[in-house]
Every structure is written in structure tokens, then in C-alpha cells.
Subunit: 93 residues, 2 copies
């Protein structure tokens, strides 16, 4: 979970996730949307992959990334770790 929060700390990576929320895109398409070097974007993809926030799909020389929404609940659950009211434990009964 630390990886996820670390990944979300960077605004560019959050923007990448926002874009992928609309639809999956190739590395090239993503790089066209950001004023950054392709190598930089590649590094960001690695961080997001390591955090399981995106999924990579290789087709020939093209790599497509899509959002991994299944981690969403995990993130929210962990947010409850420090944001939920103290009465939460009882309410779960």
C-alpha cells in the first residue's frame, strides 16, 4: 500500500491515471499528452505498474496501459485506516 500512496504523490502520475480512466492508451499516445520526455513518462509508468495502479499490454512494439480499478477499494479501505470515525468498528458488526 505504501507503493500506491507513493505513486499517487506525483501530480503527473495522477494525471496519467485520470487519462487512463477515460480509456486505455499506448505509451506513445500518453506521451503526446504530456510535455515530458518519453523516458520520463516511461519511468512514471514503472512506478504506477509497481503499485498495481495500471496494467500493461504489449502488442508488437506498442505497449498499451489501462487503469487497474480493482485496487480502488483497497485504497479507500486504507483511507479508512486514518479517516474513519472511531465508531466505525462497532458499525461493522
Amino acid at each position: 500500500m505504501n507503493e500506491i500512496f507513493k505513486a499517487l504523490a506525483d501530480p503527473t502520475r495522477r494525471e496519467i491515471l485520470r487519462v487512463l480512466r477515460e480509456q486505455e492508451r499506448s505509451a506513445g499516445e500518453l506521451s503526446d499528452l504530456f510535455p515530458l520526455a518519453k523516458s520520463t513518462l516511461s519511468g512514471h509508468f514503472n512506478v504506477l505498474k509497481a503499485a498495481d495502479l495500471i496494467i500493461q499490454d504489449k502488442r508488437g512494439t506498442t505497449i498499451t496501459y489501462c487503469l487497474n480499478t480493482s485496487v480502488f477499494e483497497d485504497v479507500v479501505a486504507h483511507l479508512f485506516d486514518f479517516f474513519a470515525p472511531r465508531e466505525t468498528p462497532k458499525e461493522t458488526i
Copy 2:
């Protein structure tokens, strides 16, 4: 919102929030719970304060910190920015 995600990126700060979720505590009490220099903890409090994640209450020489749960919904809402299914826009109608 960038401040919040930046604040949440550090495990120590997340732990601080977890502790404050149980109950508010003074800077000294918090520092007793972490194997870190008081100055380091003070730095962490500053980050959390800047992100509006905690609220500071001064009483004499004692400073008490408590969790600011009102930002929780904001955080979750922003999580929807990149995690919500693409159908969300319609469902909000």
C-alpha cells in the same frame, strides 16, 4: 489536493494520522510513539497541517493535534477522479 497526496506518501505521516484517529494527542505524546527526533516529527506535523489533514490546538506550551476528518470526502472524491468507472458521470444524474 496535491498537498494531501504528498502528505499521504510518507508512511510515518500515515501512521501519525492513524494514531490521531484514535484520539487527539500532544506533540510530545506523539513523539513518544515514534522512534524519531522531535524535530523530525515537527516537520511531519507541518506537512500534515499544510495539507489540512490535522488541526493544531495550542494550550500554553503544549500543542495538541487532532485529525481533520472533514477532508476525507474530498480525498475520496478525488480518488474518483481516476478510479471511478467511466459510467460514473451518468450515474450521478
